[in-house]
C-alpha cells in the first residue's frame, strides 16, 4: 500500500521523489561495489600485475589454472573447512547454552548481557592482536595459566606450530562469536508462543521433552537461517587470522579469504580476481546446496 496511491495526479512528482531519495545510495553502490566487482570478474581473465601494467592481455583461464595448481590454495581450502566447521560448532553449542541460561529473567540480567556481549564491539583485527599476545609462546598468559595448573609441562609455541596455530585462531574466533549466537538464539526462543508451552504443561510434558518437541521444531527454520548467515560470515572473516598469525606458520592457518588478500597485497590482481571468483562460486554453490538441504522455503 503506498501513500500516494490515492492521488495518481501526482505520480510524476512521486516518481521524482522516489528517484531523488534512492539516487545517492544507488550511485555509491554501483560505483564502489558493483563496478569493482564486475571489473574484478574481467581482470580474472587478464594477465594483470600491479607492477607491470604496460600489458594486460586476456589470457583465458590461465589465472584460474595457476591458482588451482597451487598447493597453498588447496591447503587454504581445507583450512577453510576446518575453520568454519569447528568454529561454528563451538559457537553454536556455547551460544545456545548461553541463550538458554539467559532466557528467563533474573536480577542483573541486563547488566550481565551488557558485559558478556562486549567482544562484539571489537574488530576482528584487534581481537586477533589480543589473542596473539595471550598465546605468545614465551610471555603469553595462556602458557602461564596452563603451566600453573599443571596441564602442560613446557611452554607451547602456539602460534609457531602448525596444528596449534589453527587451534588458537579457532579459540579466538569462538570467544568472539558465541555472543552473536546467544543474541540470535535468544530472539528465536522469545518468538515461541507462550501458549505452546502452556499446552505442553497441561499435557504433562517434562522440560526436556518440551525443548525437543515444542521449542526446537518451532525455531528450526530460524536456526537454519542463522547458521547459514554465520557460515558465510565466518568464511568471509579473514581479519582475525590476518592479525593473529598472518596465515602462518607455513600457510597452516591460511583460509581462502586470507589467501585472496595475500594475492592482492602481492600485486597480482589477475590471480586475485580469479580467487575472488572462486570464492563467489563457492559461496553461491554452498548457499544453494544449504537451502535445499534444510528445505528452508518449505520450513518457512
Amino acid at each position: 500500500m503506498s501513500l500516494g496511491s490515492a492521488r495518481p495526479a501526482f505520480s510524476v512528482r512521486k516518481a521524482r521523489f522516489i528517484a531523488l531519495c534512492l539516487l545517492p545510495g544507488v550511485v555509491f553502490v554501483v560505483l564502489f561495489t558493483y563496478y569493482p566487482m564486475i571489473r574484478g570478474a574481467v581482470i580474472a581473465f587478464q594477465q594483470y600485475n600491479l607492477f607491470d601494467l604496460t600489458s594486460t592481455p586476456f589470457v583465458g583461464l590461465a589465472n584460474f589454472r595457476a591458482v588451482l595448481a597451487e598447493d597453498r590454495f588447496w591447503m587454504a581450502l581445507r583450512n577453510t573447512g576446518t575453520w568454519v566447521v569447528v568454529s561454528l560448532f563451538f559457537q553454536f553449542v556455547l551460544g545456545f547454552g548461553l541463550a538458554l541460561l539467559l532466557r528467563r529473567h533474573f536480577r542483573g540480567r541486563g547488566l550481565y548481557q551488557a558485559w558478556v556481549f562486549f567482544p562484539w564491539a571489537m574488530s576482528g583485527f584487534l581481537i586477533g592482536l589480543l589473542w596473539r599476545w595471550m598465546f605468545n609462546g614465551q610471555f603469553g598468559v595462556i602458557n602461564d595459566l596452563l603451566l600453573r595448573t599443571g596441564i602442560i609441562e613446557h611452554r607451547i609455541g602456539f602460534l609457531a606450530t602448525p596444528g596449534w596455530a589453527m587451534t588458537s585462531v579457532i579459540v579466538a574466533n569462538v570467544w568472539y562469536g558465541v555472543t552473536f549466537f546467544a543474541i540470535m538464539i535468544m530472539a528465536a526462543l522469545q518468538s515461541v508462543p507462550r501458549e505452546l508451552y502452556e499446552a505442553a504443561d497441561v499435557d504433562g510434558a517434562s522440560r526436556i521433552r518440551q525443548f525437543w518437541h515444542v521449542t526446537l521444531p518451532h525455531i528450526r527454520p530460524t536456526l537454519a537461517l542463522i547458521v547459514l548467515l554465520r557460515i558465510i560470515w565466518i568464511l568471509n572473516f579473514p581479519d582475525l587470522i590476518y592479525s593473529m598469525t598472518g596465515g602462518g606458520p607455513a600457510g597452516s592457518t591460511d583460509i581462502i579469504t586470507t589467501f585472496l588478500i595475500q594475492q592482492v597485497i602481492g600485486g597480482d590482481y589477475g590471480r586475485g580476481g580469479a580467487v575472488g571468483m572462486l570464492i563467489l562460486g563457492l559461496l553461491l554453490a554452498f548457499t544453494v546446496f544449504y537451502l535445499n538441504a534444510t528445505r528452508f522455503e518449505k520450513a518457512r
Binding site: I18, M184, D239
Partner: protein, 271 residues
C-alpha cells in the same frame, strides 16, 4: 542447586569473556621490563602510562586518531542520511524495480567488499583518491549504504502511515511531513544506525591498508597494522593502542546494544 549451577556457569563465562580485556589493559599499564619478564605478573608491580605517552610522542597517534575520527564521522553521517532517504522510499512506496533493488542491496551484504580489493585500488588510483581520507570516506559510504538503507526501512515500517497522512492532510508536503513528523519518532533508530556505521568505519582494516600508506592519512587500524609488520612487536604500545582504539567503540556499542540486537534479529527471525 540448579540456580547455583547456573550462576557458576554464567560467572565462568563472564570471566572468560572479560579476561582478555583485563589482560590488554594490564599489559598497557606495565613497564616494558615487566611485560617481557617471567614469572608473569597478574597485577602490575608498578603502574605506568609510558606506553600511552609513547603513542603520542613517538608515533603520530594524535594524527591517526583524528583521521579515524574524521573519516568515521563523515562517512557515518553521509550513510545515515542516505539510509534515512532510501529506507523511507523502500518502506512507503511500491514501484517497479523495488524488489530488484532490495535484492541488489542484500547481495552486497553476503559478499565482502575486499573480494574486489584489487579493482577498488585501481578505481581509487584512477580517481586520484589514494592516500586521501576522502577516498576512504567514499568507499565506506558505499560499503554501508545497503545496511543503513535496509535497517532504516525496517524502522519506518514500524511507524504507522497514518502519522504522516495526518500531517499531509494538514497541508504539509511529503518531505515536510517526513522531516517534521517521522524523523523525530525515528531518532533513536537513526542514532543507532549512525553509531553502528561509525564503529564499522572506525574498525575497518583491509580497504584502509590498501588505499593508505602515507603517514598523514593513516587511520588507527592502518597505523597498528604497521606496528605488526615490524620484526618485533612492542606489546606495551600495542596494548595501549588497542585500549585507545577500542574504548570509544565499547561506549558507543553499549549505548545502542538494544538496537543492534533488534536490527540483527529482525532480519533473521522474521526472515
Amino acid at each position: 542447586m540448579r540456580r547455583l549451577a547456573k550462576a557458576i556457569v554464567l560467572g565462568v563465562w563472564l570471566l572468560i569473556t572479560l579476561f582478555p580485556l583485563y589482560w590488554i589493559v594490564i599489559t598497557s599499564l606495565k613497564p616494558k621490563a615487566e611485560i617481557f619478564s617471567l614469572p608473569i605478573r597478574y597485577w602490575p608491580g608498578k603502574v605506568t602510562f609510558e606506553h600511552y605517552a609513547d603513542l603520542f610522542s613517538f608515533a603520530d597517534f594524535g594524527v591517526y586518531l583524528l583521521n579515524s575520527l574524521l573519516v568515521s564521522l563523515v562517512a557515518a553521517g553521509a550513510v545515515t542520511m542516505i539510509g534515512v532517504l532510501g529506507g523511507y522510499t523502500l518502506a512507503r512506496f511500491t514501484f517497479p524495480g523495488r524488489g530488484a533493488l532490495m535484492l541488489a542491496f542484500l547481495v552486497t551484504q553476503m559478499i565482502p567488499l575486499f573480494i574486489a580489493l584489487g579493482p577498488l585500488y585501481l578505481l581509487m588510483s584512477d580517481l586520484d583518491l589514494l592516500n586521501r581520507l576522502a577516498g576512504l570516506m567514499l568507499v565506506y559510504v558505499a560499503m554501508l549504504v545497503p545496511f543503513a538503507t535496509i535497517i532504516m526501512r525496517g524502522f519506518y515500517e514500524r511507524i504507522p502511515v497514518a502519522l504522516e497522512e495526518a500531517a499531509q492532510v494538514d497541508g504539509a508536503s511529503r518531505l515536510v511531513a517526513m522531516v517534521r513528523v517521522v524523523i523525530p519518532v525515528m531518532l533513536p533508530g537513526i542514532a543507532a544506525t549512525f553509531i553502528f556505521a561509525f564503529v564499522q568505519c572506525w574498525n575497518e582494516l583491509f580497504l584502509a591498508i590498501t588505499f593508505i600508506d602515507s603517514e598523514d592519512a593513516k587511520t588507527i587500524p592502518v597505523a597498528m597494522n604497521s606496528f605488526i609488520t615490524q620484526y618485533d612487536i612492542d606489546w606495551g604500545s600495542m596494548a595501549a593502542a588497542t585500549v585507545v582504539s577500542v574504548l570509544p567503540t565499547l561506549v558507543l556499542f553499549a549505548a545502542i546494544r538494544r538496537y543492534i540486537v533488534e536490527g540483527l534479529t529482525a532480519g533473521a527471525v522474521k526472515g
